[in-house]
Every structure is written in structure tokens, then in C-alpha cells.
Symmetry: C2
Subunit: 145 residues, 2 copies
């Protein structure tokens, strides 16, 4: 991703936060910059480790609070895969996608399948519901060549 794009996203988040809450702090800036720069699925622990390098005074509590704030303003999603800790994923300017998890390595692969999306819509309708959202995780084992 280009520097410009990152700056633009940071600006957007900053504005959103200030609109909803009130304060934009140094801690939030550091955490959000990390979030924008490192796309993927990270636990709070991951963030805390990375962010501590830059500013060792930032507490776990602030990481939690900031990440939850990002979820509230809609630029991040919290996902719980199985039993472990929740992971946070940056979704600003990202299209919807689902996940396939490698049962051996734990690696997460993202994908979209338009046909499945369409069918999900249909299934929900048949059951008498408006589809609002969905979560789909495939668990697989890498095919050896």
C-alpha cells in the first residue's frame, strides 16, 4: 500500500474518532498507525508487543480500548477463531471476505466466492430472514503435490 493511502486512512480514522468521541491521543496514533501498516489478523498481544517497541509506556488496557474503539467506528472487526484470544482485522477500504484456516499450521487464507454469497442470501430468504451479515470459516489441510 502506498504512503498516501496510509496517510489518507489515518486521517479518516482520526476524523471519525474525533466525531464520535472527543480525543485523539498519542497512544491512539501509534496503535492506529501500526494497524494501518500491518494488515492481517492480530491478537491484542501481537499489537501490544509491536506497539511497545515504539512506545513502551502504552498499556495493554489502552490497546484493548483503542481496538474496541476501531471496531465501534467500523474500521476493524473482532474475530474469534476457536478457543484462543480474539483477533482484530483492519477492514477500512477492504471488501468482504471469508477465511480458510490451515488446520496444521494455523495459517489464515482469505477468499471470496460470489456464488456462495448469492446462495447465502437465498437460503436466508427461504428461511424468512433478511441476510444481515455472515461468517464462514473453512478448515482444510494443504494438498501435497
Amino acid at each position: 500500500m502506498s504512503e498516501d493511502r496510509a496517510a489518507e486512512q489515518l486521517q479518516y480514522i482520526k476524523t471519525e474518532v474525533k466525531r464520535c468521541q472527543v480525543r485523539w491521543t498519542a497512544q491512539r496514533q501509534v496503535i492506529v498507525e501500526h494497524f494501518i501498516a500491518n494488515k492481517g489478523h492480530y491478537t491484542v498481544e501481537d499489537f501490544f508487543g509491536a506497539v511497545s517497541v515504539q512506545d513502551s509506556s502504552i498499556s495493554m488496557a489502552t490497546v484493548y480500548r483503542t481496538l474496541n474503539l476501531l471496531v465501534d467506528i467500523g474500521v476493524a472487526v473482532k474475530r474469534v477463531f476457536g478457543d484462543g484470544p480474539a483477533t482484530f482485522e483492519f477492514i477500512l477500504n477492504r471488501d468482504h471476505h471469508d477465511h480458510l484456516i490451515d488446520v496444521d499450521s494455523g495459517e489464515i487464507v482469505e477468499f471470496v466466492d460470489e456464488d456462495i454469497e448469492r446462495l447465502q442470501q437465498l437460503v436466508a430468504e427461504e428461511l424468512g430472514y433478511d441476510l444481515h451479515d455472515h461468517r464462514m470459516i473453512l478448515y482444510g489441510r494443504k494438498i501435497k503435490k
Copy 2:
């Protein structure tokens, strides 16, 4: 479900447990009977409440241990919907199915769609994986008539 079916299932579980572990206890009997009689998605808390009525000495720890045991022998699955506590579902003699959750009431509807199942297989293969398992949850709002 008929009484016979319930008795048969209880017998099956009893045999399985004794084969894998060693002891079949009064507590396990009470918990498993409840599990067989009340199909659906229940938290440990739910079970603990229901089972306590019958035998108030049964502890939360035993409920957890028994439910985990049932998962181990393959007659139950543990599911985590969102943030709350895990729920356990009885799956002995049940076909695979997915879930639709009513975002307003929290009600859970079960369904299967063979086309989606097929496509999931396909998608996994395209990504280079053997599909091992999957989890799909649709979130919807009831359509008013």
C-alpha cells in the same frame, strides 16, 4: 423423540465412555440424560442450572468435564457464537447443519444447503486445500409479512 431412541442413545454413550475412559458415574448419567432430552444449543450455565434441580450436589467443574468428554467421544460439539460463553450441541445421530442467528432475538435456526456445501469443497480445492470441516453462520432479521 421416542423413549426408545433416548435409551438407545444413552446406552451408546455409556458404552463409548466406558470404552475410552473407564468410569460411568451417577453425575455423568444425570448430565447426559439432560443432554439427550433437551436438544438445542446450551451453555454450561444452562446445563448446570437444569442439572442442579435433579442433583444439587453436581458441580460446575463436573458439568464442564462431562461436556468436554462428550465432545471428545464425538457426540457433542462446542460452538462459540460471538463473545459469550461457548454452547454445546448434541450431535449423535444428527446430520451436519449450519446456523442462522436472528440478530434481534438471538434465536438460532438450523439449516443445510447442499449447493453451498459443494461450493465450499470446490473453493477449498481451488485454494489448494482438502476441506476438513467448516463453520458457517448467517445473521439475519426476520422478514415481516
